[in-house]
């Protein structure tokens, strides 16, 4: 009983963490605060993956999103803003105009969520890493290889794009 209660408490904590920090990401005026709030959103989603018995995905989320993408984003902010301006403020535009379609879409999504009849099964809780690996290297081998090629192409392209041009420096 108490274990169930604790699990539910952790679950709700993760939900609130995810949603709350996502709100900060969207509405905070300081872009770096947004970036650091994104950290908590990503961690919250990783925690939700654990509840969905997707352990490998949770670790990947931490590794790729937090360790890779988020660091890239923060570096991006540092490199494209005046670094010593502590607030790095940002103006938003058309907030109220944008709210209309977004709220409409959200309403539709929630209506569907509420009205649809889901055929739920009893979820299985088991380690998934091995089966996931087998799946990626048999059924999904071609998409997997394509994704590797995509990563390689993105890597080379990003280096090519971000490199300073010849005339930019003298040596």
């Amino acid at each position: 009983m108490i274990l169930h209660f604790l699990t539910q408490a952790v679950f709700w904590f993760l939900v609130i963490l995810t949603v709350g920090s996502a709100i900060v990401v969207v509405f905070n005026k300081r872009i770096l605060h947004s970036a650091f709030a994104l950290l908590f959103t990503l961690c919250g989603v990783a925690g939700l993956y654990v509840f969905l018995s997707a352990d490998f995905l949770a670790a990947s989320q931490m590794l790729v999103y937090v360790g890779g993408i988020l660091t890239l984003i923060i570096f991006g902010v540092f490199l494209t803003a005046r670094m010593y301006n502590m607030s790095i403020p940002e103006q938003t535009h058309q907030r109220f105009l944008a709210l209309l379609p977004v709220l409409g879409l959200g309403g539709i999504i929630f209506y569907v969520l509420n009205s649809a009849e889901w055929h739920l099964i009893t979820p299985m809780v088991a380690p998934t890493t091995e089966n996931l690996g087998k799946m990626l290297l048999t059924t999904y081998l071609v998409p997997f290889e394509v994704a590797s090629m995509l990563l390689l192409a993105a890597l080379i392209g990003a280096i090519r794009l971000a490199r300073p041009r010849k005339e930019d420096h003298d040596d």
């Binding site: 604790l6 605060h33 380690p127």
Partner: protein
């Protein structure tokens, strides 16, 4: 009388967590003492001698109490929220690694089936914490230190992960306990000595890259006193700085413990007849030895330049790790 039976797991976990936090603090405290002794003896000095009688063993306690009661400065121009948050993130990143360290066959926080991968994943929190600390301090030295540190840690994560994949491949599992169990029975079964010389190369690459992961010399550019004052924690004082310090020594322990687990046979003795000595002693002993080697290197080698640091990672460690990985893969396939 309340029936304790259903809560036993919970109580055990809570006790374990408290124990780990205590262990981390005590280890970090006495590692600072050991570091000063090692530094002293390498430089033909003695290190702390006076405080507390025998070889100054109370020195870390005095330092800790002093830091606890020191004024806690938050610079007026700093970003106060992030400034306060950053030490906790770094500390959590370091502490989370302890969850999967197998002190013995059944003395482990949680034997995750993705153990090795988990450790690599939670270390990312440290990078973000350091970036946060560096930026929130509003100090150019902190900023440079944080940028260097983040660049270095992200780059060196790749050789670390690639070299850790080699024992994972040989064991066929990422669970810490199973990896150690595959190395039972004498030091010739340890992964560092199997598939010579590939796994030895992997071990060396892992150890060097992990030095850069935890910002230790010769890769301690983020804290280079002569150029960056104290790197990303320049503005931190008192207890907040102590948390960074704790996390740094905790990280040293974690990376050494992983090396001991996946390469050096974890809690098993080097000779089977020595197995009467309990596992945790072997495990902590091996880890402490690697920590000692880290200190030894710190006080022996000069610091690298930034471009040399990146050169070593991307042009030496990375190709070697890739070739290594391919060859070990071939070995595993051929052996069936």
């Amino acid at each position: 009388m309340i029936a304790l039976e259903p809560y036993l797991d919970l109580i055990i976990s809570v006790v374990y967590v408290v124990g780990i936090v205590l262990f981390l603090s005590l280890f970090a405290l006495f590692a600072t003492w050991l570091e000063r002794k090692v530094a002293g003896h390498i430089q033909d000095r003695l290190g702390p001698m006076e405080t507390g009688g025998w070889h100054g063993w109370l020195q870390p306690i005095a330092d800790a109490i002093k830091l606890l009661i020191k004024e806690d400065i938050i610079p007026a121009a700093a970003d106060k929220k992030l400034f306060k948050l950053a030490p906790y993130l770094v500390f959590i990143g370091s502490l989370a690694g302890f969850a999967v360290l197998p002190f013995a066959a059944n003395l482990i926080g949680s034997d995750l089936n993705i153990g090795v991968y988990y450790v690599i994943a939670v270390t990312s929190l440290v990078v973000i914490g350091i970036l946060m600390a560096g930026w929130a301090s509003n100090n150019k030295w902190s900023m440079y230190g944080a940028m260097r540190s983040a660049a270095q840690m992200i780059s060196y994560e790749i050789p670390v992960a690639l070299s850790l994949l080699i024992p994972v491949m040989m064991a066929g599992t990422m669970s810490m306990v199973e990896i150690v169990d595959n190395q039972a029975g004498g030091f010739w079964n340890w992964y560092v000595f199997r598939t010579m010389p590939f796994s030895l190369i992997a071990f060396v690459i892992y150890f060097w890259a992990s030095l850069a992961e935890v910002n230790r010399a010769p890769f301690d550019l983020p804290e280079a006193e002569s150029e960056l004052v104290a790197g990303y924690f320049t503005e931190y004082s008192g207890i907040r700085w102590a948390m960074f310090f704790l996390a740094e020594y905790g990280d040293m322990f974690v990376v050494s413990a992983i090396a001991a687990t996946v390469f050096l046979g974890g809690w098993y003795a080097p000779f089977p007849f020595l197995d009467i000595i309990p596992g945790p002693i072997w495990f902590i002993g091996k880890t402490a030895f690697l920590v000692f080697v880290q200190m030894w290197l710190r006080w022996t080698l000069p610091r690298l330049r930034v471009d040399q640091l990146m050169y070593v990672c991307w042009k030496i460690f990375l190709p070697f790790s890739f070739a290594n990985l391919l060859l070990v893969g071939l070995w595993v396939v051929l052996k069936g």
